[in-house]
């Protein structure tokens, strides 16, 4: 009897203690393309976020995390993204806006973050200027110039004198082309030719033929990741450009873990620069990839999942510093200068720009244990976004 009483008392105590400590739920509104051509982005990003919460518990600074996912497919129409953000703020009363896989999503929502005073955590979109669009934006992914410049410097240092650039004919393609040319020619390299390919082209034969006729040392490629990159590499192999002594260099999003298996063996030997590889050797990454495969046996972890995982970590760390207060000013103040060990390596939020500072690796595609992997062999540590300098 006494036992029962004490256990009831203990239960009651625990209940009240919990109730007393229970602050309002922490609502995080995610704006992501969950369907349509960029559905895989939404999947990887939600995977990363959920994995972090599963590992670290879904309570941050005493507040239970509640995720509200809004599909804004195709992700390229700003009006849908903006409407979703308005609904998240007004209807669902979220504390934090997060997600943002594509640049138009981030651009369209930035004014809402400013006006509603909500922190906005960008987990993928890579246009350099995004963080300047609102004072409440912080980014945990990468910027396009950040991943492009290192491959250009690497090429110039490694006996590649002439490069033919092939980029997709759209905004990010122009940015990549501009950054590559700037860094590469500044380092003494020469552009042998350049071409812009319509988005959604799937037959690269005319361009590859032209490259073959020009005989540069290497081809620099930037296209949106997905079928275009796959088609290019298959064509590159079919035409025997590698045998003709032409190297293929690119940014790593072209052959990230989500598409590399679809490319298959033609990806072997591609040299690229990027900030995350599944094959990155560190205890943090080992733990991350093992947990990822356990939770999602059918997917491979890629940079988007890591950026989302880190984004969630950033939210947790910042809120611990503010004591659970998600006020935009306080949150951003806490986020500035945060440093942690990510699965990709050491990262830091630049106190000045709220953008991520990270190591960018030079990698080569190899087969490890029957699996295609990006193997890192060189790196540029603590690399800031050159687009903002």
């Amino acid at each position: 009897m006494r036992q029962l009483k004490s256990s009831i008392a203990a239960a009651a105590l625990a209940f009240f203690a919990a109730a007393g400590a229970q602050a309002a739920d922490l609502k995080i509104g995610l704006i992501l393309p969950m369907t349509g051509p960029f559905a895989s982005h939404g999947k990887q990003i939600t995977n990363g976020i959920k994995l972090y919460l599963a590992q670290n518990g879904d309570t941050i600074a005493g507040r239970k995390v509640q995720l509200i996912i809004k599909d804004d497919a195709p992700g390229t129409s700003g009006d849908v993204s903006k409407r979703n953000a308005q609904e998240l703020v007004i209807q669902d009363k979220v504390d934090i806006l997060a997600g943002f896989s594509l640049t138009p999503e981030a651009f369209a929502v930035a004014p809402i973050a400013t006006e509603a005073k909500k922190p906005m955590v960008v987990m993928n979109a890579a246009t350099s200027s995004i963080t300047t669009k609102s004072d409440y934006i912080v980014r945990t992914s990468m910027t396009l110039p950040q991943t492009t410049a290192p491959i250009a410097s690497w090429a110039a240092k490694n006996k590649i004198k002439t490069v033919y650039t092939i980029v997709a004919d759209y905004g990010p393609g122009y940015d990549a082309e501009g950054q590559f040319k700037k860094t590469f020619t500044a380092a003494g390299g020469q552009i042998a030719g350049e071409v812009r390919v319509p988005v959604n082209s799937n037959d690269f034969s005319p361009y590859l033929q032209k490259v073959k006729d020009t005989k540069p040392d290497a081809v620099f490629l930037f296209v949106p990741n997905g079928p275009m990159g796959i088609a290019f590499m298959k064509g590159f192999q079919e035409r025997g450009l590698a045998q003709a002594g032409i190297k293929l260099i690119a940014t790593g999003d072209l052959i990230d873990e989500d598409v590399i298996d679809a490319i298959g063996d033609p990806a072997l030997g591609v040299i690229n620069s990027f900030h995350y590889s599944e094959a990155h050797k560190s205890p943090e990454n080992k733990a991350f990839t093992e947990a990822y495969y356990k939770a999602y046996p059918n997917d491979r972890p890629n940079f988007m999942a890591v950026a989302a995982y880190d984004g969630m970590r950033l939210i947790a760390e910042a809120l611990k510093k503010t004591g659970g207060d998600a006020d935009a000013e306080k949150f951003i103040a806490a986020a500035r200068g945060l440093k942690w060990m990510s699965p990709r390596g050491p990262v830091e939020i630049d106190p000045a720009t709220r953008d991520i500072v990270q190591t960018v690796y030079i990698r080569k595609v190899e087969k490890v244990g029957g699996k295609l992997q990006n193997i890192e062999f060189d790196q540029v540590p603590e690399f800031k976004d050159p687009g903002k300098q």
């Binding site: 369907t35 996912i69 129409s77 007004i90 651009f107 122009y174």
Partner: protein, 329 residues
């Protein structure tokens, strides 16, 4: 008054039938919606805008029988016109609407020469081709349009100098609904005028119309231009209420979606366009919130069922029901 003939004879425009009770009720709904769903105003404004867009397609498809998969071209032209105007300092919303409508009408008039020939399939593809070319042009002119990243810096002035666009979307809502109402009212007058009737005649029997003295080609060009102007205004509204223009305003899926909404609601009746939009967007909204990953499946199922069991769209069902009820009474 009536003795002095006005330079433009407006009499034919006054032939529209008197408003019915059902119509009054219908237009009270937006007012009710404002109070019932104060937290969803941005969705409701976008419904009004898309409704106007569907209405513009109804003018050319439902009344004149011109099928178009590229109607989004004019929507996009209007959206960019309004966006660029505001970006370069002319942010007055009404001025933006007027200019966007005019520019879209001009593009519509020019392209009408390409479009008004050939069979349905040919028209579908030529309209689509025109839209895709504009899409590519906007994509390539990154400096000017922002390309895929979208046009930023669209700085809107308050409506009538009084009402600022706010976070809750109140101004955007009343503004969109008001513009929709004005243009709907105008469309209602137009389709009941002799001009509108001649369009229906063309749709029903294109060979006989010249025999009664109706210039078929000129009439079709006129209505195509009118539809383009309407679409341009809708595009401008979207730009002004979201202060952002994405390349998506010129995309094929948007063209296809508005066609779906119109057919769903029923072509050839102005209310069909509005009801189709309302139903489609509501279904889309709820399904995608319930199931962000696989909502398309259920939306597809709804479309299939509607076609199998309700041939003439929602307006068709409504009319059948009304007839039955009246028949019994």
């Amino acid at each position: 008054m009536a003795i002095i003939p006005s330079p433009v004879d407006l009499a034919p425009l006054r032939r529209a039938p008197a408003w019915r009770t059902a119509e009054y009720i219908c237009w009270l709904l937006p007012v009710a919606a404002y109070f019932l769903f104060p937290t969803s105003l941005s969705l409701l404004s976008q419904m009004a805008i898309t409704g106007l867009f569907a209405l513009s397609l109804d003018l050319i498809l439902g009344y004149a029988g011109i099928v178009s998969l590229g109607h989004v071209a004019f929507f996009g032209v209007g959206a960019y016109a309004a966006g660029l105007l505001a970006k370069y300092g002319y942010g007055d919303p009404l001025l933006g609407l007027a200019i966007a409508g005019t520019v879209a009408a001009a593009v519509g008039y020019l392209s009408s020469f390409l479009v008004l020939r050939g069979s349905d399939l040919t028209r579908l593809m030529v309209t689509l081709g025109v839209a895709m070319m504009l899409f590519e042009a906007a994509n390539k002119l990154t400096e000017f349009t922002g390309g895929v990243d979208g046009l930023q810096g669209v700085d809107m002035k308050p409506v009538l100098g009084l009402f600022r666009f706010d976070l809750y979307g109140k101004t955007a809502y009343w503004y969109s609904v008001a513009v929709l109402f004005v243009f709907f009212w105008l469309a209602r007058r137009i389709v009941h005028s002799p001009f509108g009737l001649s369009l229906r005649g063309i749709k029903q029997n294109v060979i006989r119309m010249p025999a009664i003295g109706a210039p078929v080609h000129a009439r079709l060009a006129a209505v195509y231009t009118l539809g383009a102007a309407y679409a341009g205004v809708a595009g401008a509204l979207l730009t002004q209420t979201t202060q952002f223009v994405s390349l998506d305003v010129l995309s094929f899926p948007r063209s296809a979606a508005v066609m779906l909404m119109l057919v769903l609601g029923g072509t050839g009746s102005l209310y069909g366009a509005l009801i189709g939009t309302l139903v489609f967007m509501t279904a889309h909204h709820f399904l995608s919130n319930l199931n962000p990953q696989y909502w398309q499946f259920w939306l597809g199922a709804v479309l299939v069922l509607v076609v199998l069991f309700a041939r003439d769209g929602i307006m068709g069902i409504a009319q059948t029901v009304i007839k039955r009820v009246r028949g019994k009474a």
